[in-house]
Symmetry: C2
C-alpha cells in the first residue's frame, strides 16, 4: 500500500480491550479505596481557561500546556492537572457543602512533554483532596488512603514506602540560617540529589549555607515537625505506621505547597515517584480570588508509573490477573448446533442476559466446530449448546469438559447461575 494507516499522535495511547481492562482494574481499585475512605467523586471539564493554570503555577507548567484558541477567541487549555479545576469548583459551590470536603476524581490530563517510560502526553490521574480541615488529621487520613491504595493493588511492605516531610521543618532551618525567602531556597532542597555536587555547593553558597549543614539537618530525625509526629502517631493507631518514613529531602518543588508533603516510592527506587501529595493551604484562596479561603491537602497518582510498578512486582501483578479472571468479557458462549433453532436460541439468550449473565453467540450460521473455537476465544468458561433436542440444552464447562443437561423450564436461568457459581462448574449429569 502506498498510504499508511492513520496513527495515534505521539504520547497518546490506544486502549484495546486488554489495555482497557488494566485501566478498569486501576479505576476499580481507586474507586473502591476512595469509597471506603468516605470520599465522593466529582469531575471537572477537560478544557479550562488558560488563565486558571497560569495563575496557579505562576507559569511553571506553561511550557507544557496543550494551549490554544477556540472558535470564539478564548485562550483555552487541556487540563494538565486537576487541582486548579477543583479549586475553581469549590470556590463556586462551597456554600452548598458541609466542610470538610473529601472529594476524589479520576480522569485524563494532558502535558506536552517528551514521551518516555512512565510519561505520556495523555495520562490518567487519580486525585483525592480534603478541603476545609487544617489539622494534621487530614494529612494522615490522606496518607492512610494512599497506603491502602497500594495495599489494595497487591503491594506489600517490601515493595513501597511513603517518604514524608513538612515544609515547616525547612522554614525553621531558614530562620536558623537567616534565609529571608524560603520559597527560593526550597526548590534547591528539592534538587539535592539531581544537581552536580559542585553546582549544588555553589547554589547553597548564595544562601550562605554549606552542603554539610544541609546534610546534618536532613539526617537528624529531631528535625521532624510536630505535624509529622502527629501523622506518624495517627498512622500507627491504624496499623499503617510501618509504611511511613521521614525524609526531609522531600519538599515537592511547586510553589503552592505549605505543610506536610509526601511521595510514594518503590523500595528499590528504580522508578520515579509513584504518587505524591501535600498540603496547599493558600491555593484555594488564590484561585477563587478569595471566595474560598480554605485549607487543603491533596494527593495524585498517575496511571502510567503505577502500571509499570505493577508489571515489575509479582504480587501486584497476580492481584491484577486475579481481578481480570473474575471479570471476563463473556461468561457463556451459546452454540447453535441446529440452525433451525436460532429463534429459540435468541429467546434463551435474552432470558440469560436479563438475569444478568454475559452471553455471546454467533450472529450468523456457523458450523459447530467453529462455534466452539469462538467460544474458547471469547474467554467464556461455559458453552450452552442448543440443538435439535431443544428445549433440552447442554451446559459445558470449557476447561474441565464436563457437561450437564439443562431443561428450558421457567427457572432455568437460576439453575445456570447456580452452576456457574459452583467452584468447579457443572458436573457430569
Amino acid at each position: 500500500m502506498a498510504d499508511k494507516c492513520f496513527q495515534s499522535l505521539p504520547g497518546f495511547r490506544d486502549f484495546t480491550p486488554r489495555d482497557c481492562a488494566v485501566r478498569n482494574y486501576l479505576f476499580s481499585v481507586w474507586r473502591d479505596v476512595a469509597h471506603r475512605y468516605g470520599f465522593s467523586e466529582y469531575e471537572a471539564p477537560i478544557v479550562e481557561s488558560t488563565e486558571l493554570y497560569l495563575k496557579k503555577t505562576g507559569g511553571e507548567l506553561a511550557t507544557q500546556l496543550f494551549r490554544f484558541e477556540d472558535q470564539g477567541g478564548r485562550d483555552i487549555t487541556l487540563r494538565p492537572e486537576l487541582t486548579a479545576s477543583l479549586a475553581r469548583i469549590v470556590g463556586a459551590n462551597q456554600r452548598d457543602f458541609p466542610k470538610p470536603l473529601k472529594w476524589f476524581e479520576i480522569g485524563p490530563c494532558f502535558r506536552y512533554e517528551k514521551p518516555q517510560k512512565g510519561r505520556g502526553r495523555e495520562f490518567i490521574q487519580f486525585n483525592a483532596d480534603i478541603i476545609g480541615e487544617a489539622s494534621s488529621g487530614a494529612d494522615a487520613e490522606l496518607i492512610a488512603m494512599a497506603i491502602d491504595t497500594m495495599l489494595a493493588l497487591g503491594f506489600g511492605e517490601n515493595d513501597f514506602v511513603i517518604r514524608a516531610s513538612d515544609r515547616e521543618s525547612w522554614l525553621s532551618f531558614c530562620t536558623q540560617h537567616d534565609i529571608s525567602d524560603p520559597s527560593e531556597f526550597l526548590p534547591l532542597v528539592d534538587r539535592l540529589e539531581k544537581l552536580k555536587p559542585e553546582v549544588l555547593e555553589e547554589q547553597l553558597g548564595t544562601f550562605n549555607v554549606t552542603r554539610q549543614q544541609v546534610d546534618d539537618f536532613v539526617n537528624n530525625p529531631d528535625n521532624a515537625s510536630p505535624a509529622f509526629k502527629e501523622i506518624r502517631e495517627n498512622l500507627n493507631a491504624r496499623g499503617l505506621g510501618q509504611y511511613l518514613e521521614l525524609d526531609l529531602t522531600i519538599v515537592r518543588g511547586l510553589a503552592y505547597y505549605t505543610g506536610a508533603v509526601f511521595e510514594i516510592f518503590d523500595t528499590k527506587k528504580s522508578m520515579r515517584a509513584v504518587a505524591g501529595g501535600g498540603r496547599y493551604d493558600g491555593l484555594l484562596s488564590t484561585l477563587s480570588n478569595g471566595s474560598a479561603d480554605l485549607p487543603a491537602t491533596g494527593f495524585a497518582m498517575g496511571d502510567m508509573v503505577i502500571q509499570n510498578f505493577i508489571d515489575a512486582t509479582p504480587g501486584a501483578k497476580l492481584e491484577m490477573e486475579a481481578w481480570m479472571a473474575r471479570n471476563p468479557a463473556c461468561e457463556i458462549y451459546l452454540v447453535i448446533a441446529d440452525e433451525s433453532k436460532r429463534n429459540d436460541a435468541l429467546g434463551v439468550i435474552a432470558q440469560l442476559r436479563t438475569s444478568g449473565l454475559s452471553v455471546d453467540y454467533p450472529m450468523t450460521q456457523l458450523n459447530v466446530g467453529k462455534q466452539f473455537k469462538k467460544a474458547e476465544q471469547s474467554g467464556a468458561r461455559f458453552a450452552l449448546v442448543i440443538g435439535s433436542e431443544f428445549p433440552e440444552m447442554q451446559l459445558k464447562n470449557l476447561s474441565s469438559r464436563s457437561e450437564q443437561t439443562i431443561d428450558n423450564t421457567s427457572n432455568f436461568t437460576e439453575t445456570i447461575q447456580a452452576l456457574l457459581d459452583a467452584p468447579d462448574g457443572p458436573l457430569i449429569a
Copy 2:
C-alpha cells in the same frame, strides 16, 4: 470583591458529587448492558490528527471542531465522536482479534456548538460497534442492546420507541425514479420534516419526484427491506419486537451509512433523538486506507439528552434514585464521644475499611452533637459511637434511632456487616 471567581467555559460542565453520581449511574447501566451482550470495552485518545475527521466526514463536522496546532506544529482535534478513532484502532490491530469484534467505549467528546438543552461542547458518549459481521443478525443484536439499555434505565413500552429503516429501501426508490446519485437524494429524505413544504417540493422537483410519491413510498410497509424484516423477526424471537417500528423517513444524514439505520425517540417526540445508529460498511476501509475492509454497524447515545429524558420520566427517575440509595457516599459515620479514645477509633476505622465498609469520621476534635449532625449530612445510615466504655461500642441506625452494643471482638467487622445488611438495620440490643 472586585475580581470574579473563575468560571467553567461555556458549554462545559462541572460534575459536583450529586451530578457525578448521576453520571456514574449512566456509566454503570451502560457498562452492565454492554457486558451482558458480550461487548469488550476499549478507549481511544481524546486528541487525534484532524485529518482523521476530515477524511471521515468529508468536511461535514469541520465547522464544529475544537481544532488547533500543537507545540510540534501538528494539526490536531479534540474528538467530536468515536467512530473515526475506532476505525483507526481496528485498522492497526485487527489481525490480533478474531472477528466479529463487539467493542464499546464510554468517554467525552467535543463539538463547538451553541450550548442549549441537550447539547454541550463537552458531552459523554456511549458507543457500541460490531465489526466484521455483514448479516442483519449484527444489526438486530445492536438494536436489541439499545432496547435493553432503555429498559435497564427504567423506560417502558409507553416511553420510547426504536424507529428503524434501511437505506436499501431508498436505493430501490431511486432506481424506480431514475435518480442517479442517491447520496444527493438521501439527505433530502432526512429533512422531510424540517424543510418548509414549498422548499421541499422544489428540491424534490430537481430529482423529478413529487411529495406525493415520497409520502406514498414512506406509508407503504411493503417497502421495508429484507434486512428490516429479518431484524424484526430476530427481535420478536427475543421478546423485544414491540419496541421496533418501521419508519422509512429515518435515513440518518451522514454520508457513510450504508444499510440498516435506527434512532431511539421518546414516544411523545418532545425531544431530539435519544440515540442513533446504523450500518457503515465502507467506512473502515476508507479510514484505514484499505487495511481493514470490514463491514460494521454501530450505535451511540449521549449523556445529555438521556438525562433530560430520565428527569421527564417518573419510572426512569425512580430507578435512578433507587440506584443512588443503594450506593451512598458513606455507610458508617464514626462518632468519637471521648477524644482520649481517638487512637482506638482510628484502629476500628482501619478494620472496618479493610473489611470493605465505607467509613467517615471527624478528623479533629468535635463535640458529639456536631458529630451526629455530620453523620446525618454524610448520608450514612449508621453511626458507630466510641466513648469511654470502649472496647464496647454503640451502633445506631440514624433513621430508626434503634441501637445495639458491639464488642470490639476479633470478628466485630462481620457482626457490623451483618447488621447493616439486615433490612431494618440494628435492633435494640
